[in-house]
């Protein structure tokens, strides 16, 4: 089976300052329709790598091609159309005055019509079991509720690739199970997904491939 390349990292290197390097010369390819888990000890650079792949950070060395385009040359809005990113801390991406507005925001600023926005929003409110919170102020929610709002807002834009940084924190078992089902249906649709997670059971249930980082390098790239 020929799989379509989603993200291609070549000789990727990065450090937050000149003296130190967190990511050393990484090369790998991520495909559409594939769910990959990125694991490794605390502080090894998993979140940094996720941000590099999404184009939030630009590489110090090497390059990231996002659906064939170099992230260094892409404006943020264009990357946002291709890739959905859920931060480890949901507070970093919540800003709207209501949950419904938060979910519909991306579509609204891409020029979608109101009927479409409200249909998508209603579907996602139901999918993530947050219908009762649609008028609530997102920053007043619990961590687990914020997490579900952020995931819904990511999915609203129908991204071709999704990077989820610790998506299970704050979620109870039932909600993790529901997220597993959502991930499976996205995979069937051809969406590529990178899960940054320490949650072993969740990884085993969702990922078909594991990238293990250690010392700024990929130590293991394994398919189930």
């Amino acid at each position: 089976m020929i799989r379509e390349t989603a993200i291609e990292a070549s000789n990727l290197g990065f450090g937050y300052d000149r003296e130190s390097s967190i990511i050393n010369s990484l090369s790998f390819t991520l495909y559409r329709g594939e769910t990959v888990a990125l694991t490794g000890p605390n502080g090894v650079g998993k979140t940094t790598l996720g941000k590099l792949l999404a184009g939030i950070l630009k590489p110090a060395r090497g390059q990231v091609l996002l659906f064939g385009e170099n992230t260094r040359d892409m404006p943020l809005y264009l990357m946002g159309r291709k890739i959905g990113y859920s931060f480890q801390n949901p507070d970093q991406q919540l800003f709207a005055s209501s949950v419904a507005e938060e979910i519909g925001f991306g579509l609204k600023y891409r020029g979608a019509n109101l009927e479409h926005i409200s249909r998508v929003t209603a579907y996602l409110l139901n999918l993530f079991d947050i219908e009762h919170l649609k008028e609530a102020f997102p920053l007043n929610l619990s961590w687990g509720e914020k997490r579900r709002v952020v995931l819904a807002a990511c999915l609203a834009q129908n991204p071709e690739y999704l990077i989820l940084d610790e998506p299970t924190t704050g979620l109870d078992e039932e909600r993790i199970k529901a997220l597993t089902e959502i991930i499976a249906s996205l995979r069937r649709k051809g969406t590529g997904i990178l899960l940054i997670s320490h949650h072993q059971t969740f990884i085993e249930q969702n990922a078909e491939r594991i990238l293990r980082m250690e010392g700024g390098e990929i130590r293991d790239d394994r398919f189930f």
């Binding site: 490794g40 000890p41 605390n42 619990s142 687990g144 940084d165 924190t169 704050g170 109870d172 078992e173």
Partner: protein
């Protein structure tokens, strides 16, 4: 064993909420015991911790009734470590609590040293907490509370961003704190982390119930 935390007929709802988040809940937690608090997301676990630590009703407004009595000093590690880290180095974070207790310099130094060893943060002593990974921040937030040497320790999902090795280490730390006679409450979703708990409480649909074992927990 003496009761460290005694909550009587505790009810709370946030401003603008029609229903009580929890209503008339009463319980006692003893020193030298680890209690896990579990329940569906949004059921009020973090809010209950705010009530036990005094954040509610002092800083978060809403309708609060009932009372909480505590034997000793309380320390709380919040679910979001970013909400309690604000100093330029890890060492400063760990020093902040004891400095504000006006402890002697030597004692502050001794506590910082021993907590850095205990939770394995020596390497990051002079790092800026804001630039650490999620798991690193969680450890610094925990360290900042432990240097206060509280009698009652509230931890909101303390393992959520930790790798397996660190999770194991922090469980050992909790068992050691229990041995020292601290009362520990931790909020947790992951059953595999409940093994260190002496008792498990389920907060669901506004009520709090003690569970016999992790296996019987059901959120329905």
């Amino acid at each position: 064993m003496i009761a460290s935390i005694r909550a009587r007929e505790l009810s709370f709802r946030y401003r603008g909420q029609d229903q009580w988040l929890f209503e008339q809940i009463s319980f006692e937690l003893k020193s030298g015991q680890i209690s896990a608090l579990t329940g569906p997301s949004g059921s009020g676990k973090s809010t209950l911790c705010y009530c036990l630590s005094g954040v509610i009703p002092r800083f978060i407004k809403g309708e609060f009734s009932g009372d909480v009595s505590l034997e000793g000093r309380v320390g709380m590690v919040f679910q979001d470590p970013d909400s309690q880290l604000f100093l330029p180095t890890v060492e400063d974070e760990l020093a902040f609590g004891p400095e504000n207790l006006c402890l002697p310099r030597e004692e502050i130094g001794r506590r910082i040293e021993s907590i850095l060893q205990l939770i394995g943060l020596h390497r990051l002593r002079l790092a800026n907490p804001v630039k650490l990974s999620g798991g690193g921040k969680q450890l610094v937030a925990l360290g900042g509370v432990l240097t206060l040497d509280p009698d009652i320790i509230l931890l909101d999902e303390p393992f959520s961003q930790l790798d397996d090795a660190m999770r194991g280490r922090i469980k050992t730390v909790l068992l050691e704190l229990k041995r020292q006679g601290k009362a520990i409450v931790f909020v947790e979703h992951d059953k595999s982390n409940l093994e260190v708990a002496d008792q498990i409480w389920l907060l669901s649909r506004g009520g709090l119930n003690r569970q016999s074992s992790p296996e019987v927990i059901s959120h329905d």
